[in-house]
């Protein structure tokens, strides 16, 4: 399955990756090869197999609604590149 350069650019944009023109070319080929490989699996007849998003025999793993202590604000912000008055400070985002 041949990916287009535009598809790779779109995926890179969604993943917030800045790619050079060279890398885009490179990944277009590599990703296409990976998809080709995956395509072999499509040949298997799975019409009798129900969709299986989970392989573990687990359902209803639920916690009771009892609050537990949160992290101290300083710890929560410890890895933040920038902060202000207890907030994470980030580049301007326009109003939704």
């Amino acid at each position: 399955m041949k990916l287009t350069v535009d598809e790779v650019k779109h995926v890179a944009e969604l993943a917030k990756l800045a790619l050079t023109e060279e890398e885009i070319q490179q990944f277009t080929e590599q990703l296409s090869a990976i998809l080709d490989y995956a395509e072999q699996v499509q040949a298997v007849d799975t019409s009798a197999v129900p969709p299986t998003p989970y392989v573990l025999p687990l359902v209803n793993v639920l916690d009771e609604d009892r609050p537990r202590p949160s992290l101290p604000t300083d710890v929560a912000l410890a890895n933040a590149p920038d902060r202000e008055d207890g907030y994470f400070r980030v580049r301007a985002v326009f109003e939704e």
Binding site: H10, E13, L14, K16, P53, Y54, L56, L58, V59, N60, V61, L62, D63, E64, D65, R66, P67, R68, S70, L71, T73, A76, L77, E84, D85, G86, Y87, F88, R89, V90, R91, A92, V93, F94, E95, E96
Partner: protein
């Protein structure tokens, strides 16, 4: 009042009347409005959806309710909140939904600073609740079903504050359980949208799953609005829909739909085409404005959340949750009308808030259900008591009834004092005012203020003589045939007796006196 029967009571299930041409809401004389609604409702759990940080974020210092899970730290493991799952199933049951046997959480991928994981955990292909309906009342007395397409569970995002040149992020709200309810495009007018939202909020409050406070963001509504001609409807076609956000009240939703329908109809009238865009509501100028959106179309790449095993909802679990459903507003209203003979108008307003209904029912239990009694109580509650709540409470919120010092049993005592002719109805209003403020028993107030009704004929006669003597001019006019002055004299007599006279007796004595005066004069 069995909970099981109330959710699907016959009274709820009144036949839906198809809207007659006369009642169809048309814009520019020919465009029908088609609205589907998305409602987000924060669930009233104590902890967050996928971690056990406190969900009580209002007023908390920024980033004081976070942990590795809601901060999106690598390796953190989200675990779903049982209470949130059960609240959603409970809501689904009240909305007449089918509860999915298997429900799966999914990742909705997008980058925004209020969502540190880079995705929101939501439900996509397999939501918890499907195919329900809510009945709304139509002005012509009929009712109409607004179908519910789905109700699912997800997590709220953090809050961003935009400052000059940068933004501040508070993640206390990130991960608070959020239920999304999506209707089919069954809403055909701004008023129907208003009625639907009012009904939904009432239900959510009855269930105790959501506060319904739109101004605090606990409930958010996004209508999808389009218009079409009857010909398009016949061909099964829809117009291009526009989603409107930033609506902070039901009134805004109603106004936004009316405005947007008009705007779209005008575009079509002029031969143009409606663009599929997101609009925001400008409350100040009462209009919709185009919202800036990213160029790249939405591409959320949903996939099943690998960290959370699926939900399997089997019948015993559903039955256990069904058993916790309270009697719902429509069933209550029908019961008030049928069993207690209440008029529709009072039955409706008393059931609009569960706390009001609870107050009323406790008062009825204390006062009695003999013919006319529940209606008399209803009149006092929806009349004088609501007036006092509005005048002395904070805002027009009837839920405040649960917080006043006066108990329902005391209101019943007050009405009994009127029935037993200990005080007259006007005095009772004064007593009620003090009861609402202080929570004192009515009997104690009557004694303390000496408000007992004056039924002593001699005392009343003396007051009448005094009034007539003090107003010779009015008396002369009365004698000359101006009989409407009876009201004036009555008022003076009541005033002379500090409003405490038995009004029936006073009126009777006054009439007799005036008649004899007239014949003697």
């Amino acid at each position: 009042m069995s909970a099981t029967s109330s959710a699907t009571s016959k009274a709820v299930d009144s036949p839906s009347s198809s809207s007659s041409p006369a009642s169809t809401y048309l814009v520019l004389g020919k465009y029908e409005v088609v609205v589907g609604m998305e409602v987000h409702a924060q669930l009233l759990t104590r902890s967050k959806m996928f971690c056990r940080c406190s969900a009580d974020y209002q007023g908390a210092p920024p980033n004081s309710h976070t942990c590795p899970v809601c901060l999106g730290m690598p390796g953190a493991l989200p675990v779903a909140n049982r209470a949130a799952v059960e609240a959603t199933i409970k809501t689904g049951l009240a909305l007449n939904c089918r509860i999915a046997e298997t429900a799966v959480f999914a990742r909705k991928n997008y980058h925004y600073p209020d969502l540190p994981k880079g995705y929101q955990i939501s439900q996509y292909e397999l939501p918890l609740c499907l195919d329900g309906w809510v009945a709304i009342d139509l002005p012509d007395g009929g009712s109409k079903r607004i179908r519910i397409r789905r109700a699912h569970l997800e997590e709220d995002t953090g809050k961003t504050t935009h400052v000059d040149g940068y933004s501040l992020v508070d993640l206390n709200r990130a991960g608070v359980p959020l239920m999304e309810i999506v209707t089919e495009a069954d809403i055909a007018s701004p008023d129907e949208a208003y009625a639907f939202l009012t009904k939904l909020r009432t239900l959510l409050r009855y269930l105790g799953v959501n506060s319904g406070d739109m101004e605090k963001g606990a409930m958010r509504c996004e209508p999808n609005i389009s218009v079409r001609t009857p010909e398009m409807r016949e061909r099964g076609e829809y117009g291009v829909k526009v989603e409107v956000k930033n609506l902070n009240s039901f009134r805004s939703v109603r106004n936004a739909i009316a405005y947007e329908a008009q705007r779209q109809a005008q575009i079509l009238e002029q031969g143009g085409q409606v663009e599929q865009v997101n609009m925001g509501w400008d409350e100040q100028n009462q209009r919709t404005v185009l919202q800036r959106t990213k160029e790249s179309a939405e591409d959320y790449r949903y996939f099943p959340e690998p960290d959370i095993p699926p939900l399997r909802v089997e019948e015993p679990w559903i039955q256990a949750i069904r058993a916790t459903l309270p009697e719902l507003p429509d069933a209550k209203r029908a019961r008030y009308q049928e069993e207690w003979g209440l008029r529709r108008a009072e039955a409706e307003i008393l059931t609009s808030e569960k706390r009001v209904a609870d107050f009323f029912e406790a008062a009825v239990a204390a006062y009695g259900t003999a013919k006319g009694k529940p209606q008399r109580l209803a009149n006092w509650i929806t009349g004088e008591l609501f007036r006092l709540l509005y005048a002395e409470g904070q805002g027009q919120d009837l839920r405040q009834i649960a917080g006043i010092p006066m108990k329902p049993e005391q209101l019943a005592q007050l009405l009994r004092l009127v029935d037993e002719r200990v005080i007259n109805p006007n005095t009772a209003k004064k007593v009620l005012e003090r009861m609402v403020r202080t929570g004192e028993n009515p009997q104690a107030i009557v004694e303390a203020e000496g408000l007992a009704m004056v039924s002593d004929t001699a005392q009343i006669d003396a007051a009448i003589d005094q009034v007539l003597a003090a107003h010779p001019e009015e008396l002369a006019r009365y004698r000359a045939g101006e009989t409407k002055l009876l009201g004036f004299f009555m008022g003076q007599v009541m005033r002379a007796l500090k409003g405490k006279a038995d009004p029936g007796l006073a009126r009777q004595r006054l009439q007799e006196k005036l008649q004899s005066e007239a014949s003697s004069g």
